[in-house]
């Protein structure tokens, strides 16, 4: 539904940020784009929603080459929402309610519909109680969620998020990821960038490894994390849960029928279950 074909991009006076990127986003999927700081992940998202125009190659939206005139961009942004890393780059109004209303109003919706969208977006992010609060008195984590609500209220088909977990504590990340799961459950396609391998591993359907200006590997987590040399070259490391799960599995310490754990919780539960198995065996 959203596709980059051979896309290159350079910032004026700087080295090439993207160098022949191929990437196709599939409808309804949860795609994580992994890469080190400065690898160009943000640039990639800006190209995916038309904020930047490729120097070479093509962006395709619903199969057709993207156009960059005003009307086309407006449609594009209706379909593809982008949440930037720093919420202060996206918030402008004095209160949360006012701020979230901006996108839906720009879509030309009526007041009743806009109100409904706001209520729903705040509800999805579990921040209904913030509606009335001034944006400049929110914590960083709250601002992050408000910035996301501002896009969610526009009901895009595809949601792009730049480092959604950056700067949040574990609880903040958990809240945010839970909201993304609710959106995904309703059919929204979600693409996020991160350098947190465990976050990506626990959440994504599909993972794209990004480095040296292009997508170096894309596929299931298991396939992608197999290539140790590639990860090393791009200064990435495997998720800890992946590593521990593999090692435990290879030693036969996990229940045979269980799939490998993908999240911290799954790993710990499996370990505890193993504990009980062993205890049961001893007792039996």
């Amino acid at each position: 539904m959203l596709e980059l074909a051979g896309v290159s991009y350079s910032y004026p006076g700087a080295v090439r940020a993207l160098d022949g990127v191929d990437l196709a986003v599939r409808p309804g999927e949860k795609l994580a784009i992994l890469g080190a700081n400065g690898a160009g992940k943000s640039t990639l998202l800006l190209l995916l929603n038309g904020s930047l125009r490729p120097a070479a190659g093509e962006v395709r939206l619903h199969g057709a080459p993207a156009r960059y005139d005003r009307a086309a961009l407006a449609d594009w942004r209706r379909a593809v929402g982008l949440v930037l890393q720093d919420p202060d780059d996206q918030l402008f109004a004095a209160t949360v309610f006012e701020d979230v209303s901006f996108g839906p109003l720009n879509q030309g919706l009526g007041e009743a519909e806009v109100r409904e969208r706001i209520t729903e977006a705040l509800e999805t992010l579990r921040i209904a109680e913030l509606a009335d609060r001034p944006t400049h008195m929110l914590s960083f984590g709250q601002r992050k969620r408000v910035a996301l609500a501002g896009i969610v209220a526009m009901r895009p088909e595809v949601l792009l998020l730049d480092e959604p977990g950056a700067g949040l504590d574990p609880l903040g990340v958990a809240h945010l990821m839970a909201a993304l799961d609710r959106l995904s459950g309703r059919g929204t396609t979600i693409v996020l960038t991160t350098h947190d391998m465990d976050l990506a591993y626990g959440w994504a359907d599909r993972i794209a490894i990004f480095g040296e200006g292009r997508v170096a590997a894309a596929g299931s987590a298991d396939a992608v994390f197999e290539d140790a040399d590639l990860l090393k070259r791009l200064h990435l490391r495997r998720p800890l849960v992946w590593e521990v799960g593999r090692l435990l599995g290879s030693r036969g310490l996990l229940p045979d029928d269980a799939p490998l754990p993908r999240t911290r919780r799954q790993l710990l539960e499996l370990l505890q279950a193993g504990d009980e198995d062993a205890a049961a065996r001893l007792a039996g």
């Binding site: 800006l46 904020s51 407006a74 930037l84 309610f97 008195m137 501002g150």
Partner: protein, 247 residues
């Protein structure tokens, strides 16, 4: 810097329509400015302070901290007004002319009354609410949008400034006059590109939300209540009557 705003955002009166509060405050100022009796000025001052401390529950300490600078100016200005400068044998000398004290004291009291009225507005009404009124009242779309953006970017930039000053203080940047000036210069020179960069990124961020040059948003605001408006106008009328009787 954030003291007044914090009160405004958390005030019991925050949700009253800004128009009502603006009418009350500017009305009180108009009465104070046109009245000529000490009694009326004192009544405006007392009413504003009472509304702030008893009604809006602003603590006396915070009230004083908010009023400190303007009150200092009023005292210095009135002192200058009360004294007379004359040159005797080439040396300037200060004198207290007979009858100069009373008009100076009156201006001081009037100014205090108006400052209290201003604080009555500022400590209960978020600035953004007043900007809405101005935008509707003829400030115009462009200027209104610019003022809103200013307000938003001010908060973000102030955070940068505070952290920057802190960081320079940590590195002993304010030991001595020359170093202080140099440090502030470095800070301001670094802050300009940062602030302008913020504007560029905000443009991208808002474009992702369909920004096409106009900032529009829905407001949640209580409608103006005829009862409260009547009470405000009644109070102002009483003060105005008092002013006429006193004159």
């Amino acid at each position: 810097m954030r003291l007044i705003d914090r009160h405004a955002q958390t005030s019991r009166y925050r949700h009253l329509p800004a128009a009502e509060k603006l009418i009350a405050a500017t009305g009180a100022m108009a009465v104070a400015l046109t009245a000529e009796s000490f009694l009326v000025e004192a009544a405006v001052l007392a009413a504003a302070v009472a509304l702030l401390t008893l009604g809006a529950r602003v603590g006396p300490r915070d009230l004083w901290r908010a009023a400190r600078v303007p009150v200092g100016f009023v005292l210095a200005g009135s002192l200058a007004q009360a004294t007379s400068l004359s040159l005797h044998g080439g040396l300037p000398s200060l004198a207290w002319p007979v009858g100069s004290l009373e008009p100076a004291a009156f201006v001081a009291l009037r100014s205090l009354a108006c400052i209290a009225a201003l604080l009555g507005l500022a400590l209960t009404t978020p600035l953004a609410d007043l900007l809405h009124l101005l935008r509707r009242g003829g400030l115009g779309r462009e200027l209104g949008d610019i003022a809103f953006l200013m307000l938003r970017i001010i908060w973000v930039t102030l955070d940068c400034l505070t952290e920057g000053l802190r960081s320079q203080a940590n590195r002993l940047g304010f030991v001595g006059y020359r170093r202080s000036l140099r440090s502030l210069g470095l800070l301001l020179a670094a802050l300009l590109p940062r602030t302008l960069g913020r504007a560029r990124r905000l443009e991208t961020g808002l474009a992702a939300r369909g920004y096409d040059g106009a900032l529009c948003f829905l407001r949640q605001e209580q409608p103006v209540s005829a009862l409260r408006l009547g009470m405000i106008l009644g109070g102002l009328a009483a003060l105005a009557t008092l002013a006429r009787l006193g004159a």
